[in-house]
C-alpha cells in the first residue's frame, strides 16, 4: 500500500505540470487585459501600457511562464494583479467557507441519503421506493437557485428563523456560523441526497441478489444485520466514489449557491478572478482544484481496499 500511495503521488506531478502549462496558455490566449480593468474606463493607451509594464504583462510568454513556475516551486503563488494581495492569502481566506459548507453538505447528504437508499432497495417496488425515487428525480431536476430562494422565503423571510445570507467563521461565532450554514447546506444537499440515495439503492439491489446474502438470511441473521453488515458494506464502493467526487466538486466551487447565500467561497473568487483576468489567482485556483481532485481520487481508491478486502494494491 505505501508503495502504491507513493507511486500515485509521483504520478500526480506530471498531471499538475500539464494542468499548469494548459491553464497558463489558455488564460493568455483568452481575450482580456487585466491592466484595462485595473485602470478603468478613462485610462489612455499610454497609461495602460505603463501599467502592463509594471505588472510584467509586456514580457514574452516564456519569460512570464518560467517566472511563475519558478516562484511556484518555491511555494510562492504570486500576487493578485487586481487587489495586490498575495494569492495564497486570498485563497486561504476563501477556502474555509467552501470547505465547511462542503463538509456539512456531504455529512447531511450521507446521513439522510444512505438510509433512504437502503430503505428503497429493501422495499423495492413499494410506495417507500417510489417516494425515494420521486425525491431523487426532483432533487436532480430543480435548479439549486430555485431551492435556495424557496428555503430563504420560508425560513428567513416568513418564519424569520434563520438569516438570509452571509458567513461567519466557526472559530469566531459558532452559533452564527451554524445559523448561516443550514440553508446553503440544505440547498446543496438536495442534489447530493438525490444522487447518493439513488446510487445506494442501485448498488444495494445488485448486492441483495448475491448468493452470500441469501446464505446470510438462511443462517437466520436479522434483516438489519444482513442489510447493514453484509450488503451495505459491499455496496459501498460505488457510493464512496460518488461521495468523493461530490466533495471535490463542492470544493472546486458552487458559484450559484455561494451567490444566492452570499458565501465568500472559492467559487465566487474563481468567477470574480476570471472576469477580472486576474491570472495569478485563476492559475492558483485551478492548480488547487486539480490537486484536490488528484488527492480525492487517491483517497477513494484507498478506501476501496478498506471496504472490500478483496481489493489489494
Amino acid at each position: 500500500m505505501p508503495i502504491y500511495f507513493l507511486r500515485r503521488v509521483l504520478a500526480a506531478i506530471p498531471v499538475m505540470l500539464v494542468v499548469a502549462v494548459f491553464v497558463f496558455l489558455l488564460l493568455r490566449l483568452t481575450p482580456g487585459d487585466p491592466a484595462a480593468i485595473l485602470a478603468g474606463d478613462m485610462a489612455t493607451p499610454e497609461q495602460l501600457d505603463r501599467i502592463r509594464e509594471t505588472l510584467g504583462l509586456n514580457d514574452p510568454l516564456l519569460v512570464q511562464f518560467f517566472r511563475w513556475i519558478g516562484a511556484l516551486l518555491q511555494g510562492d503563488f504570486g500576487t493578485s494583479l487586481i487587489s495586490n494581495k498575495p494569492v495564497i492569502d486570498l485563497v486561504a481566506d476563501r477556502m474555509w467557507p467552501t470547505i465547511w459548507i462542503a463538509i456539512i453538505t456531504l455529512s447531511l447528504s450521507v446521513i439522510i441519503a444512505v438510509p433512504m437508499g437502503v430503505l428503497a432497495a429493501w422495499k423495492q417496488g413499494s410506495w417507500v421506493d417510489h417516494l425515494v425515487m420521486t425525491f431523487s428525480v426532483l432533487g436532480f431536476s430543480v435548479p439549486v437557485f430555485v431551492i435556495g430562494y424557496l428555503l430563504i422565503k420560508l425560513f428567513a423571510i416568513d418564519l424569520r428563523w434563520l438569516p438570509v445570507q452571509g458567513y461567519k467563521a466557526p472559530s469566531k461565532d459558532l452559533a452564527g456560523f451554524a445559523a448561516r450554514a443550514v440553508l446553503p447546506a440544505l440547498t446543496l444537499a438536495s442534489i447530493y441526497i438525490a444522487l447518493i440515495a439513488r446510487m445506494t439503492r442501485a448498488s444495494l439491489l445488485d448486492v441483495l441478489n448475491e448468493d452470500y446474502v441469501r446464505t446470510a438470511r438462511a443462517k437466520g441473521l436479522t434483516e438489519a444485520r444482513v442489510l447493514f453488515r453484509h450488503a451495505l458494506r459491499n455496496a459501498a464502493v460505488p457510493v464512496m466514489t460518488v461521495i468523493g467526487t461530490g466533495f471535490a466538486l463542492l470544493i472546486s466551487g458552487v458559484v450559484v449557491t455561494e451567490s444566492v447565500y452570499n458565501i465568500p467561497g472559492l467559487g465566487r473568487l474563481t468567477v470574480d478572478s476570471i472576469f477580472a483576468r486576474d491570472y495569478p489567482v485563476i492559475q492558483a485556483l485551478i492548480l488547487l482544484t486539480s490537486g484536490v481532485y488528484v488527492l480525492v481520487n487517491l483517497l477513494i481508491d484507498l478506501s476501496y481496499s478498506l471496504l472490500d478486502p478483496r481489493i489489494r494494491y
Binding site: 485595473l38 478613462m42 497609461q47 476563501r94 438569516p163 438570509v164 445570507q165 465566487r268
Partner: protein, 528 residues
C-alpha cells in the same frame, strides 16, 4: 444516559437560541451597506473604478470640494486666487491629522497633487500650465501657473475620474503606475486593513481625530460628521439576496436597487427607497472614427438619426419614473444643460431621414461590428435596441456578444473591424463625469490621444481650449452650448438619455443625504 441526553438537549437548545439571536440586525453603531460592487483596487489614482473612488472618499479627504450647486468650496484648505489668475494659495485648516497620528503638511499635499497630475486629464492640463508648486509656510503652499487656467479649482474639486485626494507624502511618492498598498488618509473614516477582504468586505471605523470643515454638509463639502462607530461594506453578487437581507434587517443600506425589484418594497414601513443621486447616469454609444463606415460624418449622422432615447431607456430601465429623455450631452440638471441638435434623439428617432442620409452618403453595406457585453446588466439592452434601429435604417449590423472584459480590451484596438477591431460600443457614465467640456473625456478630439474611437476633431479642441480660458460662467455656458451643437452635428458620440438608480435603506437610518454617490457621514442609526 439520561444525563447525557439532558446535556445534549440543553446544548442544542442553547445553540439554536444563539443562532436565532445572531440572525438579528447588527449593532446600532454599525452600518452594514451593500454597494454597487466589491472593492478590489484601493488606489484612487490608478483606477477610475467608481467603488475605488467611493472608498477613497471615506478614507481620504480633498483639498477643495464641490457642493450641490457645483460651486467649489474649501475643504481641507482655504484658497485664494490672485487677481491675475496665476497664483493659487492653499492654507491647510488647523488640526488636520492622518489616521496614523501624523500631521497633514504642505509636503503631503504637494506630493499628492503631483501624483494625481500624472494620471488625471484635468491634472495634466494644470501640469501643462504649471510654473511651480511649492510650500510657502508650515500650513500653506502655492501653485503658480504660466497662464491663467480658470478650470484649476474645478479640476481639483471634481468628484470622479479622478478626484484629487490627499495622502501622506510617503504614500503619494509611489509611482503613478504602481498601486499604493497603504490606506492611510485624513478622511472621516479609518480603513481597517486587517478586516479587508478584497471583493468581499471593507470595514471602516470612525476617525475620532477628524476635524470637520466648517459650514453645512453639501455633497462632498462642509462638515463630514460621522455619527456611527463603524461602517461595513459587504459585497453581495445577487440583487435578490441583497433585497431579502435588507427586508430581514441583516443589512442597513443597498446602493442600487434594480427597478424591477422595487415593487417588493412597496408598502413596507421598515425600508425606505429613493433616488439619492439627483443627476443620475447617462448611457451613450461611441463610434470608431478610424474605419468605415463611421469615418464618414454623414453616416454617423444617419446612425444618430435612427436612434430613439425613449426606446433605449425603456428597454434598459422600463419604469419611466426612473429615466429621462434628455438631449443635453452635459446632462439635464447641470449648469450646461443645452439640448441643441437633439430633436430626433428625443422624439423617437427618424428612420426615414436616416435612410435618406445613408443613401446620400453612399453607404456600401460595410458591416458594422457592434460589441455587445453580455455580463453587465446595465449594458445589455442598449446594443440590442440600437442594432435594431440601425438595421431599420439600412445598416448591415454584425452584433458580436462578448464579456465586458473582452470588450474593454478590444475597444483599445485600432485594427480594422474585420481584423479584431470594432465600429460601435455602448457604456454608461455618472452625470458629473460628463457634465463639463473638460471633464467629459469623450469630447477629447486629439486623434490618437483621444478616448477610444479616436476622433480627430480640431474644432472641438478649439472650443475646449476657449472654455478652459473662459473667466466667467456666462462665457463658459455660451461655449458649452456651441460644443453641444457641434457634438450633435459631428456625432462625437450618441447621447442615449439619462437614468436614475434608486437606493434603499432601513428605517433605522436617518440623515441619508443626496449626492452623486452614497456618503456615510451625517447618517445616524437608531434601533429600528
Amino acid at each position: 444516559m439520561t444525563s447525557i441526553w439532558r446535556n445534549l438537549r440543553t446544548g442544542i437548545l442553547g445553540a439554536t437560541a444563539m443562532a436565532l439571536v445572531s440572525a438579528l440586525p447588527a449593532s446600532a453603531e454599525t452600518i452594514t451597506a451593500v454597494m454597487h460592487s466589491g472593492l478590489r483596487v484601493m488606489d484612487p489614482v490608478i483606477t477610475t473604478a467608481h467603488i475605488t473612488r467611493d472608498n477613497a472618499f471615506m478614507v481620504f479627504d480633498t483639498l477643495v470640494a464641490l457642493d450641490a450647486d457645483f460651486v467649489v468650496q474649501p475643504q481641507m484648505a482655504n484658497f485664494e486666487v490672485s487677481e491675475d489668475g496665476l497664483t493659487y494659495t492653499f492654507t491647510l485648516r488647523d488640526g488636520l491629522k492622518w489616521h496614523d497620528g501624523g500631521e497633514v503638511t504642505p509636503a503631503d499635499c504637494i506630493a499628492s497633487i503631483k501624483r494625481w497630475m500624472q494620471r488625471d486629464g484635468g491634472g495634466q492640463m494644470i501640469s501643462d500650465r504649471m510654473e511651480s508648486l511649492e510650500a510657502t509656510g508650515d500650513k500653506s503652499f502655492t501653485l503658480t501657473l504660466k497662464e491663467p487656467f480658470p478650470y484649476t479649482l474645478q479640476a481639483m474639486a471634481k468628484v470622479s475620474s479622478l478626484a484629487l485626494f490627499m495622502m501622506p507624502e510617503r504614500i503619494a511618492n509611489t509611482p503613478a503606475s504602481e498601486a499604493i498598498t497603504e490606506m492611510v488618509g485624513s478622511g472621516p473614516f479609518k480603513f481597517v486593513a486587517e478586516e479587508f477582504q478584497p471583493g468581499v468586505k471593507v470595514v471602516y471605523e470612525k476617525f475620532e481625530d477628524y476635524v470637520p470643515a466648517p459650514g453645512p454638509q453639501s455633497w462632498f463639502s462642509g462638515a463630514k460628521e460621522v455619527k456611527v462607530d463603524r461602517v461595513e461594506w459587504v459585497t453581495m453578487p445577487d440583487a435578490q439576496t441583497t433585497m431579502n437581507a435588507l427586508i430581514n434587517g441583516e443589512i442597513d443600506f443597498m446602493e442600487t436597487v434594480p427597478v424591477d425589484l422595487l415593487p417588493l418594497l412597496q408598502g413596507m414601513d421598515e425600508v425606505k427607497s429613493e433616488v439619492l443621486s439627483p443627476l443620475g447616469s447617462v448611457t451613450i454609444g461611441r463610434m470608431n472614427f478610424l474605419h468605415p463606415p463611421f469615418d464618414n460624418p454623414k453616416i454617423r449622422q444617419a446612425a444618430l438619426m435612427a436612434m430613439s432615447q425613449e426606446d433605449v431607456l425603456t428597454a434598459l430601465i422600463g419604469n419611466p419614473e426612473y429615466f429621462k429623455v434628455c438631449g443635453a450631452i452635459f446632462g439635464c440638471g447641470t449648469p450646461f444643460e443645452f439640448t441643441d441638435g437633439s430633436e430626433t434623439l428625443t422624439s423617437g428617432g427618424d428612420i426615414e431621414g436616416a435612410k435618406k442620409l445613408l443613401e446620400e452618403a453612399g453607404y456600401d453595406g460595410t458591416p458594422i461590428v457592434l460589441m455587445q457585453p453580455t455580463d453587465v446588466t446595465t449594458l445589455t439592452a442598449q446594443p440590442i435596441v440600437a442594432a435594431q434601429a440601425l438595421r431599420n435604417a439600412g445598416f448591415n449590423v454584425d452584433m458580436q456578444p462578448m464579456d465586458w472584459q473582452t470588450l474593454v480590451t478590444r475597444r483599445a484596438s485600432q485594427a480594422a473591424p474585420a481584423d479584431g477591431g470594432w465600429n460601435i460600443f455602448f457604456t454608461n457614465w455618472i452625470v458629473p463625469e460628463v457634465s463639463g467640456p473638460l471633464a467629459n473625456v469623450m469630447l477629447n478630439g486629439r486623434g490618437d490621444q483621444a478616448w477610444f474611437g479616436w476622433p480627430d476633431d480640431p474644432e472641438i479642441e478649439t472650443l475646449r481650449t476657449e472654455f478652459a480660458s473662459a473667466a466667467d460662467l456666462g462665457t463658459q455656458k455660451a461655449i458649452a452650448q456651441k460644443i453641444q451643437a457641434h457634438v450633435m452635428d459631428n456625432v462625437n458620440y450618441i447621447h442615449l438619455g439619462q437614468y436614475y438608480s434608486p437606493s434603499a435603506w432601513s428605517e433605522a437610518l436617518t440623515g441619508v443625504t443626496k449626492a452623486p454617490f452614497p456618503v456615510f457621514w451625517g447618517i445616524e442609526k437608531t434601533e429600528g
